[in-house]
């Protein structure tokens, strides 16, 4: 190992083809998929359909942004769908000024208006996220178990709160957040992309973001570098909760209804979006850009399969297989990184 005369860094300048492909794999996969669908079903490329796809993915996309923070710390959150349902019901109840008058449809709904409703949903999300973060960092229960429990707790809370029935019919100002458009662009898509941009900046340019990567990459080294590891881990679940609340508000607005079974199975789609986007389940590696691509990829896949009249049962099978393949790819990439 007497390479002192020769800078050891010289070998690093060589082009790493594998690294390049690994980095842009989600984007390449997305473009290939779109090309295939476009050839098989010309309706796919119509702007109406593309905006439709984007609108459909915007809710799971918001959750996937939060999930990216969680998975970057090598954590997981299975409770997102349940928390979203509960937060959505609370927002709906606030918007309607209570639980009576559940089914009044139209502008005549009397309540507290969308700002308070949105705030309520977000506060529910923050509290739910904090409780889970607390359990993980202070009670030392693994994230998988805590959020599996949370999945059941929040769903139960939602069912209890709604007493089984949906809360529907909000005013126009409320539903605009889910159904409105700015120019040709649906409002939820704008919310999704703005949130993604902010999250990108936080992760890349703020010290908090640096620390999220550090804690996920090597928790022991993070602690020995003076970082408060527990505080950082707890906060990513709070961020996840924020996005569950925001997603709940937008979903209720889009459907003009909130119900206790909303968001069932979202955890699968959301985790799939993040993982396909290149974020490592082992922590420390991943980007918001990847998550956005992963989210769109899942949306395009489902949309294309619908256009091609593939049964929704088969769609579930395909999503499941894709998650396993994406993680297998990540494990392979990780073993490559280790050798480097």
């Amino acid at each position: 190992m007497s390479t002192t005369g020769l800078p050891p860094s010289t070998r690093d300048t060589s082009f790493d083809a594998f690294g390049f492909i690994a980095r842009f794999a989600p984007l390449i996969f997305l473009l290939v998929l779109m090309a295939i669908f476009a050839i098989m079903e010309p309706r796919f490329l119509s702007s109406i359909n593309l905006f439709n796809v984007m609108r459909q993915v915007s809710i799971t996309g918001l959750l996937a942004i939060g999930m990216t923070f969680v998975i970057l710390t090598a954590g997981i959150d299975l409770s997102v769908g349940s928390l979203l349902a509960f937060a959505g019901l609370v927002a709906a109840a606030v918007a309607k000024g209570g639980m009576q008058d559940r089914f009044t449809v139209g502008d005549d709904a009397v309540g507290y208006g969308w700002p308070l409703a949105a705030l309520a949903a977000i506060i529910v999300g923050l509290i739910g996220g904090y409780l889970q973060g607390f359990s993980i960092t202070r009670l030392k229960v693994p994230p998988f178990v805590v959020t599996l429990g949370g999945m059941s707790v929040f769903r139960g809370a939602a069912l209890l709160f709604a007493a089984g029935g949906p809360i529907s019919g909000f005013d126009k100002a409320f539903t605009w957040w889910g159904q409105g458009k700015i120019g040709p662009v649906p409002v939820p898509v704008i919310i999704f992309l703005v949130a993604a941009a902010i999250a990108h900046v936080v992760l890349r340019y703020m010290r908090f973001g640096r620390r999220v990567y550090a804690v996920g990459g090597n928790p022991e080294a993070a602690r020995l570098s003076g970082l408060n590891v527990n505080a950082i881990i707890c906060s990513v679940y709070v961020i996840m909760g924020f996005f569950a609340g925001l997603g709940a508000f937008v979903l209720s607005a889009r459907l003009n209804s909130a119900e206790a079974v909303a968001g069932t199975g979202y955890e699968l789609t959301v985790i799939a979006s993040v993982v396909i986007g290149g974020t490592s389940l082992f922590g420390g590696v991943g980007t918001i850009f990847g998550t956005v691509i992963g989210t769109i990829l899942i949306g395009v896949l489902l949309n294309g399969l619908v256009l091609m009249n593939v049964s929704s049962y088969i769609q579930q099978i395909i999503i499941g297989v894709i998650i396993v393949l994406a993680v297998a790819f990540d494990t392979f990439a990780k073993s490559r990184r280790k050798r480097g």
Binding site: P8, S9, R207, L224, S225, N228, R337
Partner: protein, 515 residues
């Protein structure tokens, strides 16, 4: 070779064993022989190549060249199972018992007695009872291993070795976790085995034990066989000389000291138990020392002597049970690394990759990780310009060889990685910097650079504590040297004039001649 005087070949003879790992020659042409019923001490400093040779003997690794003969007949062990079938069983320092299974189940794990499909507990317990009686283990065969003391668990390991009809039992530091009376008991077992013609290879760092129990010895140093013989024909001084007598020509002793009279850090009576409830498992026992501004304090000791444990406790990485840490003369409370950093203490940990670096992140991110306060601008945004300047500054000062600050730190050589870790702490402008094994696994040229850096840092007024397993490194750098053994400080001597022999004596003997 002691057994070659008569024409009977020794029980075990390893000849010309060589083994290389990428970049390291672990063993070079090493010979090793053990006779029937012999208790053989296998000695050498950390990294001398002992574990590699034992792994080859136990079939866990294959040698690059060389031969192994049992009873004069050549053998090849492709797996540990093959070595065990030939009667060579290794008892590792970390036991391999399943704590929730019984003694009998542990003894016969993987070789359960009974018919083809069914295990016979009765038969296994009967056999275990016989083995326990033979070594004086006073426990029923159905006892759960978890409920037994460490010394008893070790006896279960020995019983397992005997159940395999072993002829050579390798014990890797068998006494490190035992009390004095338990050691005596272990000696009795080993002597009883000897009477039955079973040989023991005894790996230890406690040289006095060699003279208490062993018949013969082999010493390795830097992968070479440097000596062997009968214990009765040698002295502790002779063995120490063999262990340390290496070429130290590369390391120049420091010319001048920059130590001042001002105490930067003082620790008093640091005590820490491995488990809060277990008073016998003491890691640190009344450890006290101080380091001055501009001084380099060396801490010498074997692995497990309490060097790293002291450093981690001072830095707040591990809890202390009692003791005081004083920074600049004032007692401070340190409960976490963040507290230590706030008091101007930095730690370069012993395991770069596991404890210091984020291998998947860029050099820039790694280097600035502890110094975010210096590079954070408005609204806790990282000021990338300032961060890049910081990295460039230390790249030049420390001569870090990299292609760009975006390069992944995992792609750097060991020496450059270590410089990144050093730079991370220098960027904090610490008052005290503790460096644990600063040159482990880095090449000779980078080693010299790191040494010069440490000297330079001391000259700038930083108090530096260097922990190292390499005595020449300690001797080359330190103004003063603290030696430790089994969690206690056993010596505090001036660096200039100290010798490896003197330090090794302080590090290894139960009752050092000088204190």
């Amino acid at each position: 070779m002691q057994t070659s005087s008569d024409d009977v070949p020794p029980l075990l003879r390893m000849t010309g064993i060589s083994k290389s790992f990428p970049g390291v020659k672990a063993l070079e042409n090493v010979d090793f022989a053990v006779g029937t019923g012999e208790i053989h001490a296998f000695l050498g400093e950390n990294g001398a190549g002992k574990s590699t040779l034992l792994k080859i003997l136990s079939g866990a690794q294959a040698p690059d060249s060389g031969t192994i003969a049992l009873d004069g007949k050549p053998v090849v062990f492709a797996t540990p199972q093959e070595a065990q079938r030939s009667g060579i069983v290794t008892i590792y320092q970390e036991f391999t018992l399943a704590p929730d299974m019984s003694i009998a189940e542990n003894v016969f794990v993987g070789r359960e007695l009974g018919s083809r499909f069914f295990v016979s507990h009765r038969q296994m317990e009967e056999e275990t009872r016989k083995l326990s009686k033979r070594i004086g283990l006073d426990r029923g065969p159905a006892t759960r291993v978890r409920d037994m003391a460490v010394a008893e668990q070790q006896m279960v390991e020995i019983a397992r070795a005997l159940s395999m009809k072993s002829r050579i039992i390798v014990m890797d530091e068998p006494t490190s976790a035992l009390s004095r009376s338990e050691v005596e008991k272990l000696y009795a077992i080993i002597r009883a085995l000897k009477a039955d013609g079973i040989s023991t290879i005894f790996v230890t760092h406690r040289l006095d034990e060699v003279f208490e129990i062993c018949d013969s010895f082999t010493v390795l140093r830097d992968g070479h066989h440097v000596g062997q013989g009968r214990v009765a024909d040698t002295s502790i001084e002779g063995i120490i000389r063999m262990m340390v007598g290496r070429d130290v020509g590369l390391l120049a002793h420091r010319q001048d000291s920059s130590a001042t009279a001002e105490v930067a850090l003082e620790v008093r009576n640091l005590t820490r138990r491995r488990k809060a409830t277990d008073a016998s498992a003491i890691e640190l026992h009344d450890v006290s020392f101080s380091v001055h501004k501009g001084e380099i304090l060396g801490i010498a000791g074997l692995v497990g002597a309490g060097r790293t444990e002291s450093a981690r406790a001072i830095f707040g990485a591990d809890r202390l049970d009692s003791g005081e840490v004083l920074v600049g003369g004032r007692a401070v409370a340190i409960a976490s690394p963040a507290d230590a950093i706030a008091h101007g203490i930095g730690l370069v940990p012993e395991d770069r990759k596991q404890q210091a670096l984020f291998l998947g992140l860029a050099i820039r991110t790694n280097l600035s990780m502890a110094a975010h306060d210096r590079i954070t601008g408005w609204g806790s945004f990282i000021n990338v310009r300032r961060e890049k300047d910081l990295v460039e500054d230390y790249r030049r000062k420390l001569n870090i060889r990299m292609t760009s600050d975006e390069q992944l730190v995992g792609n750097l050589s060991g020496g450059n990685q270590q410089k990144v870790v050093l730079a991370r702490w220098l960027a904090l402008r610490p008052g005290v910097l503790i460096v644990d094994e600063p040159t482990r696994g880095i090449d000779v040229g980078a080693k010299v650079e790191v040494h010069n850096l440490l000297i330079e840092m001391a000259r700038e007024g930083i108090a530096i504590i260097v922990i190292s397993s390499e005595l020449p490194e300690i001797l080359a750098l330190a103004d003063r040297i603290v030696t430790m053994r089994e969690g206690r400080v056993t010596g505090n001597v001036p660096g200039p004039g100290a010798t490896q022999e003197q330090l090794m004596t302080l590090m290894t003997l139960s009752k050092p001649k000088a204190a």
